[in-house]
C-alpha cells in the first residue's frame, strides 16, 4: 500500500495538513485560523474512528501495521513501525476526541498569537498520536521527546503569571527522565540488534540483572510523566500555569503517555523485573493516592486542587497496572480514559469560569448554582464522575482496579488495595468540598465584583459553544458508567495476552 495512505500514518500525520494551511492564513484572521485547526482536529478524530472501524477487537496482536525500513545502514536497524492493538486503541481515540474539544475551548480565551498556538497544538497532537502508535523504540523516543516541545511553548507563551518557570520546570523535569530511557533504548538496540518492540519482546533474552537497570531507566521516564509520588512536583506548576486547553491535554492525554509507557514497554520488555518491582510500585502508587487526595483538600486554588487530584487518580492507574492481572490492567486502561474525560472536563469548567472572573481562589466563590444553574449541573456530574459515583465512569474503573489489586498475586498483599480504597472516600471529601465552596452557601464576593466590573452584567451561564464542548464528554461519562462492556471488549484480548506472559514469569519466580 502507498506509504501515506496507511491508516495509521494518515492518522498520525494528518494534522500536518492543517498546519500547512495555517501557514497560509494571515495572522489577523483569527476565526479562520481557529476553524482550520478545529476542522483539522475533527477530521483527525474521524480518522481515529475509521481506524476503530477497521480494528478487530478479538485479535490481541498489532493491527493495521505500517512497517518500513528506515535507517538500516551502518549497523542500524531502525524501522518506521506503527501499529495499534487493544492496549493503545482507546488512548488513540481519547487523543483524537480531546484535541478538538480543547481547540474549541480556546475560542475566546486565546486571543494572542492564535496562529502559533494552533500550530503548536496540532504538532502536539502528532506527537501524542505517534507515541501511542510507534512500535520501534527509536521512533517512539522521537515522538516522546517531541511532545515536550509544543507543550513547552503552550505553557510558556500562553500560560499564567509564573508560566516561564513552570514551562522550564516541566521541560527539564521530563527530559531528565527521558534521557536515562534513551540510554536504555540504545542498550536494547545494541543487545537485541533491533529497535522493534514486538521483536525484542519475542526474543525475551535480557539477563535478569540488566533487566532491573533497564526497568529503572524506562520507569524514570514514565514515572515522572505519570507522575508518581515523589516525582510529581512539576505537575501542579505546569497544570496551574498552562492555559485551559494546555491543562486539558496535559491531564487528559500527556499523563497517560507515562502510564501507557509502563504498560507497553516495562511490562512487555522486562517481565521479570516487572514482577519483582510490582510491590514497590504498588507502595508508591498507594502513597500517591493518599498524598494526592490529602494535598488536594488543602488547596485554596481550584485549578491546583484539580491538579493534585490527578496525582491521586493516576495512583489508581498505576496500582491497577502493577496488579499484573486482567482485572487490574483492564481497570487501569479504562481509568486512564476516565481520568482523561473527568479531569479534562474539570479543567475545562474551571477555565470557563476563570475566563469570566479571572480568579481561581476558592474563598471568593460561593452560591454560584443560583447564578449559573447549567454550569452547576454539569460541574456536579463531572465532579461525581471524578470521585467515582456508581453509575458514572469513574466508579467502573476504580472498582475494577481495586478488585484486581486485592487479588493480585504480584503485589501479594491486600493492604495496598485496602488503603487505596480510602482514597476513594478522600476523593469524595475534596471534590465535594470544592463543589460546596463554589456552588453552595451564601453568594461569594466574586459575583458582585464581576457585576461591578461588567457594568451590571454579572457572571453568565454557559453559552452554546461551552455546552457543545461539554455534551460529548457527558455522554461518554454516562456511557462508560452504565455500559462499559464495549470498552472492555476492545482491550481484553490484548490485556489477556500480556497477563499470560507475565503470569508465566510470576509462577516461575514464586
Amino acid at each position: 500500500m502507498n506509504f501515506f495512505l496507511q491508516p495509521l500514518t494518515l492518522l498520525t500525520f494528518f494534522p500536518l495538513v492543517g498546519m500547512l494551511i495555517l501557514f497560509f492564513i494571515p495572522s489577523d484572521r483569527k476565526d479562520a485560523l481557529r476553524w482550520t485547526a478545529l476542522i483539522t482536529s475533527l477530521i483527525t478524530f474521524g480518522l481515529s474512528l475509521w481506524v476503530l472501524g477497521m480494528f478487530n477487537a478479538s485479535d490481541p496482536n498489532l493491527q493495521l501495521v505500517a512497517r518500513y525500513d528506515w535507517i538500516t545502514v551502518a549497523g542500524w536497524n531502525i524501522q518506521y513501525f506503527l501499529g495499534i492493538d487493544g492496549l493503545s486503541i482507546l488512548l488513540v481515540l481519547l487523543t483524537g476526541f480531546l484535541t478538538p474539544i480543547s481547540i474549541l475551548s480556546t475560542w475566546t480565551s486565546i486571543e494572542d498569537r492564535v496562529k502559533d498556538f494552533m500550530v503548536f497544538f496540532l504538532l502536539l497532537e502528532i506527537g501524542m498520536m505517534g507515541v501511542f502508535l510507534a512500535q520501534d523504540l527509536f521512533l517512539f523516543y522521537i515522538f516522546w521527546e517531541f511532545t515536550l516541545v509544543p507543550m513547552y511553548f503552550i505553557i510558556g507563551i500562553w500560560g499564567g503569571p509564573r508560566r516561564i518557570y513552570a514551562a522550564i520546570k516541566f521541560f527539564l523535569y521530563t527530559m531528565a527522565g527521558s534521557i536515562l530511557m534513551l540510554l536504555a533504548i540504545l542498550w536494547l538496540g545494541i543487545y537485541g540488534g533491533t529497535f522493534s518492540v514486538p521483536d525484542l519482546i519475542a526474543q525475551h533474552n535480557i539477563p535478569a540483572n540488566v533487566q532491573g537497570w533497564l526497568f529503572l531507566a524506562f520507569a524514570a521516564a514514565f514515572a515522572i510523566k505519570v507522575p508518581m509520588w515523589p516525582l510529581h512536583s512539576w505537575l501542579p506548576d505546569a497544570h496551574v500555569e498552562a492555559p485551559t486547553a494546555g491543562s486539558v491535554i496535559l491531564a487528559g492525554v500527556m499523563l497517560k503517555l507515562g502510564t501507557y509507557g509502563f504498560l507497553r514497554f516495562n511490562l512487555g520488555l522486562f517481565p521479570e523485573a516487572t514482577v519483582r518491582a510490582a510491590p514497590w510500585i504498588a507502595l508508591l502508587a498507594t502513597i500517591g493516592i493518599i498524598y494526592g487526595a490529602a494535598v488536594s483538600y488543602a488547596q485554596a486554588d481550584v485549578k491546583k486542587l484539580v491538579a493534585y487530584s490527578s496525582v491521586s487518580h493516576l495512583g489508581f492507574v498505576m496500582l491497577g497496572l502493577f496488579a499484573l492481572n486482567s482485572q487490574g490492567m483492564q481497570g487501569a486502561i479504562l481509568q486512564m480514559i476516565n481520568h482523561g474525560l473527568s479531569t479534562g472536563a474539570l479543567f475545562l469548567l474551571v477555565g470557563m469560569i476563570y475566563e469570566q472572573t479571572h480568579t481561581r481562589e476558592l474563598k471568593v466563590y460561593g452560591g454560584l448554582w443560583k447564578v449559573t444553574p447549567v454550569f452547576g449541573t454539569i460541574m456536579l456530574i463531572v465532579a461525581l464522575s471524578s470521585m467515582g459515583l456508581p453509575g458514572l465512569n469513574g466508579f467502573v474503573g476504580e472498582f475494577t482496579i481495586l478488585l484486581g489489586a486485592f487479588g493480585s498475586l504480584a503485589i501479594n498483599n491486600p493492604i495496598f488495595a485496602s488503603i487505596s480504597a480510602l482514597g476513594v472516600i478522600m476523593a469524595a471529601v475534596y471534590i465535594l468540598y470544592m463543589f460546596q465552596k463554589m456552588f453552595m452557601g451564601p453568594q461569594g464576593e466574586i459575583v458582585d465584583e464581576v457585576k461591578q466590573h461588567g457594568h451590571g452584567r454579572g457572571i453568565r451561564d454557559l453559552n452554546w459553544r461551552e455546552i457543545a464542548i461539554m455534551v460529548p464528554i457527558l455522554i461518554l461519562i454516562f456511557w462508560i458508567g452504565l455500559y462499559p462492556k464495549p470498552f472492555f471488549a476492545l482491550m481484553a484480548p490484548a490485556v489477556d495476552q500480556l497477563v499470560a506472559n507475565l503470569s508465566n514469569v510470576t509462577v516461575a519466580m514464586h
Partner: protein, 483 residues
C-alpha cells in the same frame, strides 16, 4: 623520485583552491573598493568548484608525494564538509563585513587559505604535513580574528589567539620530535610498523602522542586547553567566529582522528583513559559555565567547548577494533550535525548584531518571535538541535554517538553525556524563552545570503534528521577505508 610517486591527483582539488586563492589575491587589487562583493562571489565560486572536484575523489584510495598525503574516503568526507563550511562562512560574511565596515578583499582570500590548510590537515599522512597544515589553517585565522581593527576586542582576540595558538603549535612540534625520536619516522603508517615490530621506545611514543594531543586539543578547544575560546569567539567578528568554530574544529578533529586511529592504536590502552577524562571534563565544564553567560557569543563559545567534549567521546573506544569504525563514523556524523547547527545559530547572531558590539546580549532577543518569526523559528530549531531533541540532526548525532560509546562498554561516560545534555537544555532553552516568551523590540538586518543561510541550515537540521541514511552510509564508508 619519479612523477608517479607524486600522484598529483590526490591533492588536485586542494592545489586548485590554493591557486584560485593566490589569483584572487591579485584580482582583488583591480576590484574597486565599493564592490568587494565580487571578491566574495569569486571566493564562493572557487569553493564550489573545489567541492565539485572533491566529490569526484569519492572512492579514491591513494597516497601521494611519497606517502606524505593521502586521498581516501575519510579525507573526501572531511574536505567536502570543510568546503561547505567555507561556503557558509562566505555567505555569512557577505553582508556582515559590509555593514560593519570591514569590507576588504583580503577577508575572503584569507578564508580560502585557511580552508586549504584545513583540507591539507584532513589529507595529511605524515606528522610534518600535519604541522604544515596546522600553520596554514591557523595563521589566516589569527589575522581574521583581528580583522575588525582598530576595535580593541578584536585586536585582543587576534593576539590572544595567536599567542596561545603558537604555543599549542609548539606542543605539536615537540610531540612530533619525540615520536620521531621513538620510532625514527614521521610518516603515520611507518610509525605503526615501527611501533608494532618492537623497534620503538614506547614511553617516548606515548609522551610524544600526548603532546600532539595537547597541541590539537588547543585547536578544538578541549578542557583544560579551552581558556582562549570565549574571549576569542567574543572578540572576533561574528562571521569569523562562525567559520572558525566549525572549520577549525572539523580540521582539528580530522587530524586527531587520523593520527590516533592510524598511527597510535598500539598505545590505545594508555590513551583511552585520557580521552575519557578529557571528554567528561569538557562536557561538564563547558555546559556548566555556559549556564551563567549573558552574552550570546560567549554562550555559543562555551556551547562549542561542550560539543567538543561530545565529539571527543568518539575517541574513547578507538582502541577496540570492533567498535572503532562505528565510533569514528559517529564522530564524523556529529561533526556534520554540529557544523550545520552552529552555522545556523551564528547566522541568527549576525542578523541581530549591531555596530560596536550591540545586540549581542541574550536580552536583546526579547520579542524576536513576534517581530521576526522567520529568524526566531530557525533559532529555536538550532537550540533544540544543540540540546539534542527531535526532530533535529542533533538528536540523531547524539543517538549515534552514545550508541558507539555504549557499544564500547563506556556506559558511565554515556551517562555523563546525557546528564550534561540536560544541563545544556537549561541555557539553550533560555534563549528560546527570551525569544518567544518575553516582549521586546529587537532590530534585525535582512540580507539575502544571511537569510538564505539560516533558513537552509534550519531546513537541513530537520530534514537530515528524518533521512540520515545517506550521511550515515557516507560517514561509515569514510572510516572503513581508514583501517
Amino acid at each position: 623520485m619519479t612523477l608517479t610517486d607524486i600522484s598529483f591527483s590526490t591533492i588536485w582539488p586542494l592545489a586548485f583552491l590554493t591557486v584560485w586563492a593566490c589569483v584572487l589575491l591579485l584580482i582583488d587589487l583591480f576590484i574597486p573598493k565599493d564592490r568587494k562583493g565580487i571578491t566574495a562571489l569569486l571566493a564562493a565560486l572557487g569553493l564550489a568548484l573545489t567541492l565539485g572536484f572533491t566529490l569526484t575523489q569519492i572512492g579514491m584510495q591513494q597516497t601521494g608525494f611519497m606517502g606524505m598525503v593521502v586521498a581516501d574516503g575519510f579525507s573526501t568526507f572531511v574536505n567536502a564538509l570543510l568546503l561547505v563550511s567555507g561556503l557558509l562562512g562566505v555567505a555569512l560574511a557577505y553582508g556582515y563585513v559590509k555593514r560593519m565596515g570591514l569590507e576588504r578583499g583580503e577577508y575572503y582570500t584569507l578564508l580560502l587559505f585557511s580552508v586549504t590548510g584545513m583540507m591539507l590537515m584532513a589529507q595529511a599522512a605524515d606528522l610534518i604535513v600535519v604541522f604544515l597544515a596546522l600553520e596554514l589553517l591557523s595563521i589566516p585565522l589569527y589575522v581574521l580574528a583581528a580583522f575588525a581593527r582598530p576595535n580593541i576586542e578584536s585586536e585582543e582576540a587576534g593576539i590572544k589567539y595567536f599567542l596561545l595558538g603558537a604555543f599549542a603549535t609548539g606542543f605539536v612540534v615537540y610531540g612530533t620530535a619525540l615520536v620521531f625520536g621513538a620510532t625514527g619516522m614521521t610518516n603515520l603508517s611507518a610509525i605503526v610498523t615501527a611501533a608494532s615490530n618492537g623497534t620503538s621506545n614506547l614511553l617516548l611514543l606515548s609522551i610524544g602522542s600526548a603532546l600532539i594531543l595537547v597541541g590539537l586539543g588547543f585547536k578544538i578547544a578541549v578542557v583544560p586547553f579551552h581558556m582562549w575560546t570565549p574571549d576569542v569567539y567574543q572578540g572576533a567578528p561574528s562571521a569569523v567566529t562562525a567559520f572558525m568554530s566549525s572549520g577549525a574544529k572539523i580540521a582539528g578533529f580530522a587530524a586527531l582522528l587520523r593520527v590516533f586511529a592510524t598511527a597510535f592504536p598500539s598505545i590505545a590502552s594508555d590513551m583511552t583513559g585520557i580521552f575519557w577524562a578529557l571528554a567528561a571534563l569538557t562536557m561538564i565544564l563547558g555546559n556548566v559555565i555556559a549556564i551563567s553567560q549573558t552574552n550570546i557569543k560567549r554562550l555559543l563559545a562555551y556551547s562549542s567547548i561542550a560539543h567538543a567534549g561530545y565529539i571527543l567521546m568518539a575517541f574513547v573506544p578507538y582502541g577496540n577494533p570492533d567498535v572503532a569504525p562505528v565510533s569514528i563514523a559517529a564522530g564524523l556524523f556529529y561533526l556534520v550535525a554540529y557544523a550545520i547547527t552552529n552555522f545556523g545559530a551564528w547566522g541568527v547572531v549576525i542578523a541581530l548584531e549591531k555596530s560596536e558590539g550591540r545586540g549581542l546580549e541574550i536580552g536583546d532577543y526579547a520579542g524576536l518571535a513576534r517581530k521576526h518569526p522567520a529568524l526566531a523559528a530557525p533559532m529555536a530549531v538550532f537550540m533544540l538541535s544543540l540540546i539534542g531533541l527531535p526532530p533535529t540532526i542533533g538528536l540523531v548525532g547524539k543517538f549515534y554517538l552514545f550508541r558507539a560509546v555504549i557499544a564500547g562498554g563506556f556506559t558511565g561516560l554515556a551517562i555523563i553525556g546525557v546528564l550534561t545534555s540536560l544541563i545544556s537544555a537549561y541555557y539553550y532553552l533560555r534563549v528560546v524563552v527570551i525569544m518567544y516568551m518575553r516582549d521586546g523590540e529587537p532590530e534585525t538586518e535582512h540580507e539575502a545570503f544571511l537569510d538564505l543561510t539560516t533558513i537552509l541550515t534550519a531546513v537541513a537540521t530537520v530534514v537530515i534528521s528524518l533521512v540520515p541514511q545517506f550521511l550515515f552510509a557516507w560517514a561509515s564508508n569514510a572510516v572503513l577505508k581508514l583501517f
